[in-house]
Each structure stands twice: as C-alpha cells, then as structure tokens.
C-alpha cells in the first residue's frame, strides 16, 4: 500500500503503464469478439459508434476548466464545481439537444448535440467570469502559464499572492467550449447508435409495431447514453484528480491513458446495452 506517497510533482505522472494497457486491450478485443459472435452487422457498427462517442467524451472532459472548491473561494482558476457535475451539465444538455434532431440524420444530430453542449458550457463560462469580475471583484489570471497561449496576455501581474490564479482566462474559456462541443457530440453519438439498434430490434423482441415501441426505444437509448456518459466522465475526472485549468494545464498531457480507459469502459457498457435486445 503506497499510503505515504507524499506530494506529487505538478502534473503528476503522465505516462501509460504498459501491463495495464495490454490487459485493457485484451478486454477490449474480447468484448468486440463477443459482439462479432453474437450480434449483427448493425450491432457491430453501433458498438464502434459507441466507442467513438466514449473517446470524444473522455477527451472532451480534459478541456473543461474545473476549479472545484478552491475556485468557489476565488483561489484557483476554473468553474467552481466538480468534473462530474460540469460534464453532466454540458454533455447532457448536448445529448438532449441532439436527441431532438435525431430524425434528421446522424451528422445533423451529432452537430446539434455538439452545439448544445458547447453553448451550455459557453453560457456557464460567461457567467462564471461575470460573477468573478463584477461580483467578487477579481481579474481572470492563470496560475499555470506565464502567457495566455491564445491571446498572449501576461498572467502573473494579475495573480493574487497565495492563490493558484483565479477566474477564467481566455484559454480556459475556449477550453470549456471545446469540451462542451466534444462531450455533446459524443453523448449524442452514443444515443443515436443505441436508438438505431433498438428501433430495428425492439419490434421483434416485444412483438409490437415500430410506432408503439418508439417511447421505449427512446427511453432505453437515453438511459444507457446517460449511464455510459456518466461512467466515462467520472473516469476522466479520476484521471485529472479533481481540478484542471484547461488545455494549457500540465495535467492535460495525461489524456492518452483516459482514452484507453474510455474506450474499454464504453465498449463494456455498450455491449451490455446492445445485448439487451440481441441475445
């Protein structure tokens, strides 16, 4: 038990441990083999779509500036809540937006979902800065970089002593919107893939017409999409261990291992969701 780990260097370890990565790959291959053995080509396409959606969510979470409790006191940059809450807010807003456009085709729906998620996070980021600047009277300043990578504005002059920075610098704002776009697109893609599978198979399973089972198909696809979304969002949150400033944060470099975890987790949950109507 590595109980006495002590303080880790900034950014923590970013590498991928080889043996767990290989074991994850084996689990991933077993899941796909199981799907190939039991499912139809439609199910296989759906599972691939779910994994792509999972990767988008897992990658997108790393962009969102999460401040946690220190941000609520203006002592760290970011939005003052946890990763799971923010990802759920942005991603599920996107998912609901995309679900409205489901009948217009995959591409339109996914783009709509991305815009929904991005818009949700843009509004959140805007009001976070509004409250910080006009409510608490503090400027936006990053604690992790000397210059904003996008605007080139210098940061240390505006940073209060004893804090990690505060508010949302421009790069964090952009990161939040990108995270919302990716999360919303991923969540919608998972929903659409499952909806296709259920609409094709449920009439046979439940011995009813496609119109009759539509509410069940929508509800099942929605619940599974929310479940998969939350699992991946929390795993990605575990990867960044709490707070991150955005794409310029050193912790952002940890994303490759979150992609491995997201791929395996989405395949695992997706195969259960598809086999519900296949076996």
């Amino acid at each position: 038990m590595s109980a006495l780990g002590g303080a880790k260097p900034a950014g923590g370890s970013t590498g991928i441990a080889p043996i767990p990565a290989i074991i994850s790959l084996v689990i991933f291959v077993i899941i796909f083999a199981l799907m190939y053995r039991l499912g139809t080509p439609l199910a296989m396409t759906a599972l691939i779509g779910i994994v792509i959606g999972g990767l988008l969510i897992g990658f997108g979470v790393h962009f969102v500036p999460v401040g946690g409790a220190p941000a609520a006191m203006g002592q760290a940059p970011g939005i003052a809540t946890g990763v799971a809450m923010l990802a759920a807010g942005g991603g599920l807003a996107g998912l609901f937006g995309g679900a409205w456009a489901a009948s217009q085709g995959t591409l339109v729906a996914v783009v709509t979902g991305a815009i929904g998620g991005g818009l949700m996070l843009a509004i959140t980021c805007f009001f976070v800065n509004f409250v910080y600047i006009y409510g608490m009277g503090i400027p936006a300043a990053s604690g992790k970089v000397k210059k904003d990578p996008i605007t080139g504005d210098t940061q240390p002059e505006y940073k209060s002593q004893g804090t990690e920075g505060h508010g949302l610098p421009f790069v964090s704002f952009v990161g939040g919107v990108i995270g919302g776009l990716l999360g919303g697109a991923g969540g919608t893609l998972i929903y659409l893939m499952l909806l296709d599978v259920y609409q094709a198979t449920l009439p046979g399973v439940m011995k009813a017409t496609a119109v009759q089972i539509a509410p069940v198909a929508v509800s099942l696809a929605g619940m599974f999409a929310i479940g998969i979304f939350l699992v991946i969002a929390v795993l990605a949150a575990y990867n960044i261990t709490g707070t991150i400033e955005g794409p310029h944060d050193p912790k952002f470099k940890r994303f490759p291992r979150a992609l491995i975890a997201s791929a395996v987790a989405s395949a695992l949950c997706g195969v259960a969701a598809i086999l519900l109507v296949m076996v």
Partner: protein, 282 residues
C-alpha cells in the same frame, strides 16, 4: 494521492454493513415478487425497502472510498455508481425471476473492470478502489431495481416496458404508460444517485459519526421512497401506492427525528431557533 486521511473508529465494521445491505436488498426484491405470485400489487413497497437497504450499504462504501481523497468530490461517486448500475440493471431485467442475481453478478463485473481501469490505467493506486467501485455498481443496480419494483410492481423487462390504458372501457396495452416508456427511470436514477451520496457529503469531516451518516442516508432513502410512491400511482393500484407512501412517510418521520437527535448529540452547542422569531411589543 492515496493518503488515507480518516480511519473508521468503532461503529459497525464495513463487512457487516455490506452483507446486511446485500441480503436485505435481495430479500426485499424477492418479497416484492410476491405480487406476481399472489396476483396483487400491494407488496410493491418491499422494493422501496430493498432500495433503502442498498443505499445505506452504498453510503458506507462511499465513505470508505472517499476517505482516500479521490479529489473529484463525493457526488461523482454517486454518479459512477448509478451510471454503471443502470446498465447492469436494464440488462438484467430480461432474466425474469433471476433478474436480481444477474444484476448483482453483471454489476460486479462492470464495477470491477471500471475499478481496474481507474486504479491501474488511470494510475489512481487506491487500495480499496476496485472493491469500492464493484460494491457501488451493485448498489446502483439493486437500488434502481428496488425502486422499479416499487413503482411498476415488478422487475421484469416486459412489466417495465408495458403498461395499459383504458380506452372506451377496454384495457389496451400501452408502451408509453410504462416505467421505461414513460422515462420514470430517469427520475429514479437521480433520486437514487442523490440519496446515495448525500449522507456522506453532508456528514463528512472531523466530527463524522457512522450512525449519524447512515441515519441521514436512510432518511434520504425514505424521502426518495415517498416521491417514488407518488410516481407509482400512475402505474399500480391506488391502494398499493398509498400503502407505499404511508410506509415511506412513517420511515421518513422516524429517521428524520432520529437524525435530529443524533445531530444534537454530536453538535458542540444547539440553539433551538424558532422558524419565525416573535417580535416583541405585539
């Protein structure tokens, strides 16, 4: 990262809570199955009691996991518990009578793999991670199954997706007036996810006491049970829904008073403030 900041002193050991929660939840679920055997809906409330037993167990698991400082906030634990639980629960419903057993096994497999991913691939290295995520996925699945049995009277796929509506005196099958088709499951998902994490989220800190936290979780569980009873009026007979509601109300009242008592016991000082202070001179 994995420095354990609090230890559990005294109180009931976790193993006992785990076994009690698991056994009571499974017994409660099968007692709710009496509905199908006897041909009534009056035993639906056993599902709610099963869910509360699972929630109390889950709350203690969150305490064990969160005492290692996972850094993502306590609510995230509730979200992953129900995110993985809902997948196991929905898949298990197709196995009819064996649904609770299948749900436990499948949730344990999903939870263990997620725990492995978190611990090894994401390099969390928390000793209890795999065990805790396994337990929480099972808790999530059992809680959802318990509330489902309470709202729709059964936990099988056909019962959860098929309801009936009366048109001109005839009873027709309707998929919209059902637990899943009507998306009542989405409400239950968050009712459970909030109830499982609130106990520890509200009671954590240096003054943490096991009995107080578990009592608060039971109170949240009964509160959720009351809401679920109101929703169940749409799907099961009014008598069964009212019985569930009364049991929820009595349980909530008892646990709430008990929780206030325990809070007074653990508080440094207690000022019994009236809701609206009386102004002098009236």
């Amino acid at each position: 990262m994995s420095v354990k900041i609090e230890v559990i002193e005294g109180g009931i050991p976790h193993q006992k809570i785990l076994i009690a929660g698991l056994v009571l939840a499974v017994i409660g679920l099968y007692l709710s199955y009496l509905n199908v055997i006897v041909g009534t809906q009056i035993f639906a409330f056993f599902g709610g009691l099963a869910a509360i037993a699972a929630l109390i167990w889950g709350s203690h698991t969150i305490k064990i996991l969160a005492s290692y400082g996972i850094g993502t906030g306590v609510p995230s634990a509730g979200m992953i518990a129900f995110g993985s639980g809902v997948i196991a629960f929905l898949f298990a419903t197709k196995f009819g009578l064996y649904a609770p057993i299948v749900a436990i096994i499948l949730a344990a497999v999903i939870g263990a793999i997620l725990g492995y991913l978190a611990n090894e691939v994401l390099a969390m290295h928390i000793p209890v991670m795999i065990k805790s995520l396994t337990e929480m996925a099972v808790v999530g699945a059992l809680t959802l199954m318990g509330f489902s049995a309470m709202i729709s009277g059964s936990f099988t796929f056909s019962a959860l997706t098929t309801g009936s509506t009366k048109v001109l005196g005839m009873s027709l099958p309707s998929y919209q007036t059902s637990y899943i088709g009507g998306a009542l499951i989405a409400t239950v998902f968050l009712l459970g996810a909030i109830a499982i994490q609130h106990g520890f989220n509200a009671c954590l800190g240096p003054g943490w006491k096991q009995d107080r936290m578990l009592m608060l979780t039971a109170e949240c569980g009964f509160l959720s049970m009351m809401v679920a009873a109101v929703m169940s009026a749409a799907l099961i007979s009014p008598a069964a829904a009212i019985l569930s509601f009364i049991i929820g109300l009595l349980g909530w009242y008892y646990t709430y008073m008990k929780y206030i008592e325990l809070s007074k016991r653990d508080a440094a000082a207690w000022l019994d403030m009236k809701p609206i202070p009386e102004v002098e001179g009236h």
